[in-house]
Symmetry: C2
Subunit: 155 residues, 2 copies
Amino acid sequence: MGTEIERKFLVKDDSWRASAAAGTRILQGYLASDAKITVRVRIRGDAAFLTIKGATAGIRRSEFEYPIPVDDAESMLCEMAISPVIEKIRYQVPCGAHVWDLDVFAGDNAGLVLAEVELDTEESVFEMPDWAGQEVSDDPRYYNVNLARSPFRHW
Amino acid sequence: MGTEIERKFLVKDDSWRASAAAGTRILQGYLASDAKITVRVRIRGDAAFLTIKGATAGIRRSEFEYPIPVDDAESMLCEMAISPVIEKIRYQVPCGAHVWDLDVFAGDNAGLVLAEVELDTEESVFEMPDWAGQEVSDDPRYYNVNLARSPFRHW
């Protein structure tokens, strides 16, 4: 079990690409999502994971993640997930003491780029990158499950 | 991935106990359950499993099951599952070519005993045990998720 503390920002420009490592393709979908629980299936490169997240309390939530066979993940995404499945390329970008995840969305969410930093505690200090724009941690439109239900291109 | 084909019956008497092996305690709860998907956490003896089941089509449904740490299962049952958690002792009882699961419920479902047989195909022939009563495969009250939502003692 872990507890996930994340802050999420829009991205102002492409300057982060200068310090980004090679990206990894992510396909993910949601088998369930309500106020108490989120069940996510993710294929990241050539690995796959099943992730259970509990209720969000502020920017903190319980999280359990398990590796699963990619074939199982593909079947679940095809048969059971909320449509459309989320497609994105994830880049890792160091800034100060943290490594940020930059998600460049594709498919029905093409045009959207989100930056996330994972923190040890809710009070953790972190360096704000020049390319980081408005914080959207609390905006439900940017939750990945809502990007499956109501993709960016329909906004 | 597997496909689960099960038939479920009430139990008329205790005569099955003569051919039952020692029982195993099961605690299980549901993190999500709707028409498309069921997500179950089960602690069986000293092992734990996370199970994803797809939509039911007749008596057939897709099923994916993964072993998980018992500590994770306990946290999920405590924090995230629909209350009350299901408690039962499962006994295995051979009859003809099949081994039946006899579930003797406890807690809020005490008094209920259900017998299940898993089949290879929907057309599989099986021997009906003397102790098997009315078939309840299609009665939603006996789905385990509904025994969590509406336990037997409230019927």
